[in-house]
């Protein structure tokens, strides 16, 4: 995956020079290790800042919403599925985009590394399958597969579903992944245990809305949590308000969430709010045979009526 950087710069430089696009959206190194940030390259000097490694977890589809210019965008499997969703939802036109596909082997979870480090990490060196974190008087090497983001370890769409260019040949997709073990473990609980489980899960939430801002699906001009007339949800840290927010946020993602993990990654207190969206994802698969963002020509299940739609819950 490390060899991608040169190829990405070559493609980006070529697209900008030929005038095919006005800007290329990719990643540049962040100011601290393991925190790459989005980069909008418009000049040859900008192109030289583009990088690719295992810290490119942010979903770049988030930066395409309602753009008017021609854009080249880097897309991992999940980004490409969110781009498809954006096209379906008329947030960007396919003709505006040159999609530079990046076959992905999973992104590293910075928290998993930080938790195993004895001091603050000041430098991270990456090899093909390992990653070495260094701090003051400390150095430790991890196998990448042991420190992947949880959603990446469950991913079955690592290759981009649509692309105009590819930076490398497709990678092998993971087979036989049990994607819904955590949903089943919650389903096995009693209602009281479930309520307690989510109460504990959401207890650290500070309502910063980082999960919403990082999510490419959350593009409403005014979010329901920010509206005050009418005020749909209380703005306090009372558990019922926090839960209402997370619950409604998840519902807005039903049949649209690609499990890219941007929400969980952005959370400053490490809440796994994917627990909510995973259930909806599984329901969409079981009830409608739907996997998000695989084809721009197919309307999502909550968007169309089919006579065979399940309706046993209506009395």
């Amino acid at each position: 995956m490390l060899s991608y950087t040169e190829k990405i710069r070559e493609i980006a430089g070529r697209l900008l020079q030929s005038g095919a696009v006005e800007m290329v959206i990719g990643f540049r190194a962040g100011t601290v290790p393991m925190m790459n940030e989005p980069h909008f390259a418009k000049t040859p000097a900008d192109v030289q800042k583009l990088v690719w490694d295992s810290h490119c977890g942010i979903n770049l589809a988030n930066y395409l919403t309602d753009r008017k210019e021609k854009i080249g965008v880097l897309a991992k499997g999940c980004d490409s599925r969110n781009i498809v969703t954006h096209i379906i939802e008329n947030k960007i036109k396919r003709e505006q985009l040159v999609i530079i596909g990046v076959p992905c082997k999973g992104m590293v979870d910075k928290r998993k590394i930080a938790m195993k480090a004895e001091t603050e990490i000041t430098e991270v060196i990456e090899a093909e399958t390992t990653i070495t974190a260094k701090g003051h008087g400390f150095s430790k090497t991890f196998e990448k597969k042991d420190v992947l983001q949880h959603n990446c370890s469950l991913c079955i769409h690592r290759n981009p579903v649509i692309h105009d260019e590819m930076v490398a040949p497709p990678v092998v997709e993971q087979q036989g992944v049990d994607r819904y073990a955590d949903v089943r473990s919650i389903a096995a609980m009693t209602p009281e245990q479930r309520w307690k489980y989510f109460e504990d899960l959401l207890a650290p939430c500070i309502r910063c809305y980082a999960c919403r801002n990082a999510c490419p699906l959350c593009y409403c001009p005014t979010c329901f949590v920010d509206e005050s007339r009418p005020q749909w949800v209380g703005k306090s840290l009372d558990p019922s308000d926090v839960r209402t927010f997370h619950f409604l946020r998840a519902y807005h993602c039903a049949g649209r969430c690609t499990d890219c993990g941007a929400c969980e990654r952005a959370c400053p207190v490490g809440i796994n709010m994917r627990t909510f969206t995973k259930k909806l994802e599984q329901d969409c698969l079981d009830l409608f045979g739907w996997e998000v963002g695989l084809d721009p020509e197919v309307r999502p299940p909550l968007d169309v009526y089919r006579p065979q739609d399940p309706n046993d819950f209506i009395k």
Partner: protein, 52 residues
Amino acid sequence: MEHMGIEPGRLQFSWISSAESTKFVEVVTQVTAAIKALGPNSNFAKKMAEVA
């Protein structure tokens, strides 16, 4: 909702035409009875701030 810990039966859905007044009465009676049996829903109730 039930996945999140709401009691089964707390949330119910019905499809009633504006012409089906009898069905409306039946459903309302059934739902009211079912919810009364479940008791008050304390899950979403906000507690008063505890003051020392």
